[in-house]
């Protein structure tokens, strides 16, 4: 996700301005994270900048209240502040939920582990430990020896088949901002579709994963 020019560009129409502001980027990140079946890259810079802006705003609102600025203006700033905080919180919360759901898989897969922020990694480790402890204590320790792993059904399993994985085949509804031309949908090169701007498509998430990561399509 490109970090954009921010609000300082001199563009007159709101369209181009909106597409590069942090608020718009945060909204996009939130939407994509909510709709994607797996956890996406952590938008570290964006979150950092948003937190700073929120903090500045909060201080500003404090000052306004103390200075006795018109309460209407203050309440409007407060609404904007609440909206931005909601986006940020919901973004983080959605990610935490996905971590909770797929924690063992994320721990095993380096690629996904790297998509977490430092704090999320700490959370994931602790959570994994807690869940394992809980499962061991309540069920697994009472089962016969071969069935005691929380990762495998039994010692005879070839892989960790008790670990839920994100269903990358899930279908998602997506929209592209620009015309992308023909796009190959699966490995066999069998399915080609024309992706046009602003049309909604229902596709398997796996097929458009690279497009989502590069920010060319948005999940809706």
């Amino acid at each position: 996700m490109d970090s954009g020019a921010g609000e300082s560009s001199a563009a007159d129409d709101y369209e181009s301005l909106m597409s590069t502001t942090d608020a718009e980027l945060l909204k996009s990140a939130w939407r994509n994270e909510k709709a994607a079946p797996e956890i996406l890259n952590y938008a570290a810079d964006l979150v950092q900048r948003s937190r700073q802006q929120i903090q500045l705003m909060e201080e500003m609102v404090e000052d306004y209240i103390n200075d006795g600025v018109d309460p209407l203006t203050v309440s409007l700033y407060q609404i904007d502040l609440d909206r931005t905080m909601f986006l940020l919180r919901s973004y983080l919360r959605t990610r935490l939920q996905k971590i909770e759901k797929y924690v063992f898989h994320i721990q095993k897969t380096a690629e996904e582990w790297n998509r977490l922020s430092k704090q999320e990694q700490k959370f994931a480790s602790r959570f994994a430990g807690d869940i394992k402890h809980h499962l061991d204590q309540s069920v697994l320790s009472r089962l016969p020896d071969q069935y005691q792993s929380h990762l495998r059904q039994s010692a005879a399993s070839e892989e960790d088949d008790m670990v839920p994985e994100p269903q990358l085949d899930s279908y998602v509804v997506c929209r592209s901002k620009k015309y992308l031309g023909t796009y190959q949908l699966n490995d066999g090169g069998e399915e080609l579709i024309n992706i046009e701007a602003d049309d909604l498509y229902a596709l398997p998430y796996k097929s458009i994963k690279p497009l989502v990561e590069s920010g060319q399509v948005d999940l809706v």
Partner: protein, 210 residues
Amino acid sequence: MAGTSDPHASAFSAAELEFLAEDEMIEIVPNLRMDALNFISGDFGPFRPQIPTQAPLWLAVALKKRGKCTIRAPEWMSVDKLTQVLEAERDSDKFQPLPFHYVEISRLLFDHAQGDIPDTYMVRSLIEDIKDVRFHKIGKGLESISGGGTFALKLKNLSAMEANIVRPFVTRALETFYKLSSSDMIQETDNAPNRQQTANRGPRRQLKDR
């Protein structure tokens, strides 16, 4: 809604869709004087009495609630335009282009700015009719999704609310087709890549016989 354990349920609640729609721009006529506002979400204003300006919907509704402005109905919300759209919807199998958030925008305006919309009752009933016709079309369109071939679906000109409502059904249906069709592929060819796909398909495999 954040706590649903079903990953295939609607990703967004209706309230969240409304939240997204509230960033759409709309024209207002303020009756107060206010300096420019520098929000995190953008810069708006300054506001001068009787001078129309653009503002995001949430700001417009907030001002309207406090009696500080009137809202100008967006131009697609006129009786004429909507009648045109309704007729086109009825005549054609395709969906007519409508603002992406038309459902949310019209709902917000009806709830808060009823007096500002000319011919409110007419407009409201037209929008209801348009919604009904479109839903009916969606239903018919879904019936025609064929089992063997459908891999992707193009939902042209669908609006946000409509897409959100059909999302669970459409995604689950397409996924089932996808699973069924790939397992056909596996029986035909014995390629290694396909086999890898089955390993990832679900969290559990059947227990091996000892």
